[in-house]
Symmetry: C2
Subunit: 139 residues, 2 copies
DNA sequence: AGCAATGTTGAGAACCATTGTCAAACTGCG
DNA sequence: CGCAGTTTGACAATGGTTCTCAACATTGCT
């Protein structure tokens, strides 16, 4: 580490350099609004003319996810799928075939999970809820 | 495909033969009440003296899951984890620290997901809902 | 601009959970 | 017992994801 932090800027700045590759990933993410696997995103970038290594796509997506700028969840096969997200808590209705995604909010569900957890004395909650199905177009 | 089905038997009988291996897996499952990976279950069987191939453990767990006799879900790394379960559809409230699990039913949630999906024309549904928190003991 | 320090990339190897292969062993039934 | 259909297991093969590390880009400094 040796983070001398010469300027003493308090909060350690998360240096994220604006590279061609990261811009390409961001651009790709902006180009669709459903969930895609890292490999699909990688292909998409290639098709857009850019060339970015697969490992870099993974790295970038992970760091974006950690920064809360993209949602990452897992499909039924356990594969990670990603997309840029709005910043409110929500869930997804995802098409198993084409990936079409609907963002849904579920105040009822939030309330229900809180009630259940309280009932059992659990605190510091989080939850995951995703719905998979086949969209009208894919049937 | 090529499912010639020579005898043209209507409902294909799901013959599940009671083998030593399947008994061993069932015994292992009975030996714990939290979620374990297939490999952990395989190790557990070995430690119990039995010897069952890893592939067989996977096969057996999958078929048990399909038959609704065990729950299979994925941890944050995308690995499949399993445990025996009651035979009704339910979700889990899992302690983030010690792993203590409470099975919860949520008819309200089921209804909600169905409604949401119908509203958007999605069919052939499935969903995942898991709640994570800190249990009373771990606070 | 030139340079040094350090974060970033990419090609491919490495990992590792999971599934496929197929001959040998086992089960149920006659 | 003997056959037909299942099941098993050792191992290869997959496939997504991460690691490695030398080459490269970016930033800050002079």
């Amino acid at each position: 580490m040796t983070s001398t932090d010469p300027h003493g800027g308090g909060t350690q700045t998360q240096q994220r350099r604006p590279t061609r590759q990261r811009r390409a990933v961001a651009a790709a993410l902006a180009g669709f609004d459903d969930f895609r696997s890292a490999q699909e995103i990688h292909d998409l970038i290639s098709r857009q003319g850019d060339s970015v290594g697969l490992a870099t796509v993974y790295r970038t997506l992970s760091s974006l996810a950690e920064a809360g700028e993209v949602d990452m969840l897992r499909n039924e096969d356990g594969e990670a799928i990603w997309r840029s997200c709005s910043d409110t808590h929500h869930h997804h209705l995802v098409c198993r075939t084409c990936g079409a995604t609907v963002e849904v909010e579920g105040p009822a569900v939030e309330r229900w999970t809180n009630a259940i957890a309280a009932e059992h004395g659990y605190a510091d909650l989080s939850h995951t809820l995703e719905i998979f199905g086949t969209c009208p177009t894919c049937r």
